[in-house]
Amino acid sequence: MNKLEITQLNKHYGKKQALKNFTFTFTDGIYGLLGPNGAGKSTLMNLITGNLRPDKDNGKIFWNGEETMVLGENFRRQLGFMPQQQNLYDSMTAFDFLGYVAALKGLDKKKSVGYIHEVLKRVELEDSTDKKIGGFSGGMKQRVLIASALLGEPKLLIMDEPTAGLDPKQRVIIKRLVSEMSKEMIVIISTHIISDIENIAKEIILMKTGEIIGNGTVQELVDELPLDEKNLENLYMHYYGGE
């Protein structure tokens, strides 16, 4: 059982506080991070991956009992990160890009080839292995990113808007894939698309202006709604509808 523990995490950008005393413990399973833009979801993800540093003496992140900052490379070896939609190296082929990622993840050179073909198959890109990323559609690029996050069998998977730009069929495939893998790893998914996590998330964390305003299983959260129609969409509108 893996455990990611976050205690009293704070982050400022200049005078603006992006994250306020964030405290939470994640264990194996899927967690959905919900919240409008500026809620602090991406900041939280970047703090976990180590792309950002928390304010000085303001909060710590522990992976299986050890501080991630101290673990450094050893922590990042367990990590699979998929940032929000972004550009890739257009002149590289999908295989080359994943080869580059495999090298940066420190995966064995010989085994990497097999891993790459496997993840490409999982995201249904096996036919585009040797095609240049520059010619890919937005959805294909998104799947390359997912494949890169899955390389090396991570124990902690962090995904920022993973299904953005995917067609309904691809969404289902990715949802199933994530759901299957979540049995032995922690998956944190930030999304605006409620249906992506509605049925698979073990727990939902509702965030607003850098704080947790609510958390629990989907059922627990919707049960608390003071409305007749109890679903996740109404829950979202209840908390963020005025924004």
Binding site: N74, F81, P83, S91, M92, V101, A103, L104
Partner: protein
Amino acid sequence: MRVLIYELKKLISYRAFLFISLVCIVMGALSSINNIRTADPAPGDYKRIASEIANMSESEAQEFFQQQFDEIFSEHPENSQYSGVAVSNSKTQFDLISGYGEFLDSIKENCKSITSISIFADKDSFAYRNTSKIEQAYENIKIKTLPLDVSQGVENILNNNISDILILFTIFAAAIFIFTKDKEIGIINLLYSYPKGRSRLCLNKIGALFFITVILNLLFMAVLTIISISTYGLGDLSRPIQSVNGYLECNFNFSVGEYLVVSLIFKILGSFLWSILFALICILSSNNAQIYGVSALISVTEVLLYNNISRISNFGLLHDFNLVSFIKPDNIFFTYRNLNIFGYPVNALLIISAVWLILTVAVLISVNVIYAGGKNQEYKRIHISIRKHSSAKVHKRLNYAFRKSLFLQGSLVVIVIWAVLLSMYHYNFSKPASPYDMYYKQYTTDYAGPINENTFNIIKQDEQYFADLDSKMMNGEFTTSEMNNYQSEQNRKSAFEDFKLRVEAIEDIDNTEIFYDLGYIRAFCVNSSDEFKEMALLIIFICALIISPLISYDNGRKLTTIIYSTTTGKKSYIKRNILITLIYTAAASFAVMIPYYINILLKYGTQGGNLPINSIKAFASFPIPITVWQFALGLFILRTILFSLISLIMLAVSFKSKSRFTAVLINITIFVIPAVCIWL
């Protein structure tokens, strides 16, 4: 190693980088060929002269040179076997290397005499220690005589400033591609989350940069070597380096071949320091404009310090511990010299190498720590958030177009850097002090005004004076002092001849007058178009940089499809960009040419501005009756129109290009590179 290979693959996959490298190599080759062509009409003559005297004794060789000079200065110089330049340079070189033994003896004697002079004889003084070390250093030289062989080919490889600049520029481009592309496309966050995505990735990127630095240095040297071999030839590579021009005082027992290798290694190491410095700038900068600005500032400062501070001045350390010095191995090897470090003489080679090592290690650590620390990423975010809060005003379309060009496309920074370079260009304007100018000014000032009897009388009088001088000279009636006077009077004669020709050319034209016109002759490029070429290059260069992105920037973001669909549409958008192009070009033209005209007027005076342009000999038959001022204005307008046409073609390239990078590169290739080649 795998990551390094991927980094190299990535770099090579950028077509723009390959294009820049190729263009720089071609430019290096063209400039080298041009230098050889202008310096030597027959570069092959050096090889022939060297082989001719290879087996001659010193006196036979001197006789051979005398024979060649006699042929060159005979009534039929066209019959001479070799070009005058080649004979003269070979003779100078031969005299130098013939005296090599005496040179070594003179060093010993100098050292002895210096150590015996009472003020230097203090054994604890720097001068004493230095002298002793110099004596020891030259005692190690095994060779005593030097052969004459072709020097110019080796010199062309070793002392090629343009190639050095082009290598650095290409390395700069490589550093940008390796270190900023990840930031630019926004993938750095992802890379940073990988186990080897920080310090290890940074080291691999530095490795890739080093590899490219080696390759570029090798490529440039190979091109120069091929050119040298096919023109001058390199001569015997096993001969001592001291036999090459400028290396007589070198105290190492290197052969020419060995020195070429040592020089290449030094250049590689020196340019590697530059490359990691560029990498540091790339990491610390949050946008491309900062990278170009800071890099240009550092490079220009270093070049100015290197060129303007002598190594023997009180600030000599700024010359030696200079980034330029690290890519100039000659600065270390051309002679044996020590630097004064707390009263102790330390060999320049040792201390410059030590400084290189310290700087390289310091920059390498900084690059690694800053890259792995990722502080620049946070800075970028804050930077963006500040921008978001900027003014919420709505502006006119033209205003937006200018703002987009100046701020989003980074033209403002380019303009600021260009303005600094331009002010240096104008600041360095000078009027050469020549005796001809002095005499010509005397004639045209003393006899300024309409041409009259007095003018003709003076012409007759001076004509007679110079005829008498010439006849005395022919008859050998001069004493030594009169002979010297005759030589200096030749300048006055030359000025008089031009004055006379001008009078003859304009005497029948109404309202023309004599006035001192050398300033106008220079401004209107009558005798040389070099300055106009320089100014044209400055204007074309800035236009290429700021006009190329105008439309291509929007094309790259597919914004033109949105812009064309608006009410004002495509026509208005293009019209606006044409207007901006014309404004930029006019402003650049104004900034370059008007201060130049003002400098001319300040140095040469404003006399004659209201007189007809026909008063100047070169324009005596100019058909339009206008004054000198009007002509200057017309010329300025015509030149501006010419540059505007060029700029409009640049805009057309921008219109057709899908990325601003491509547009800049195409415009540089079509306009700037030919302008550079013409200027060189």
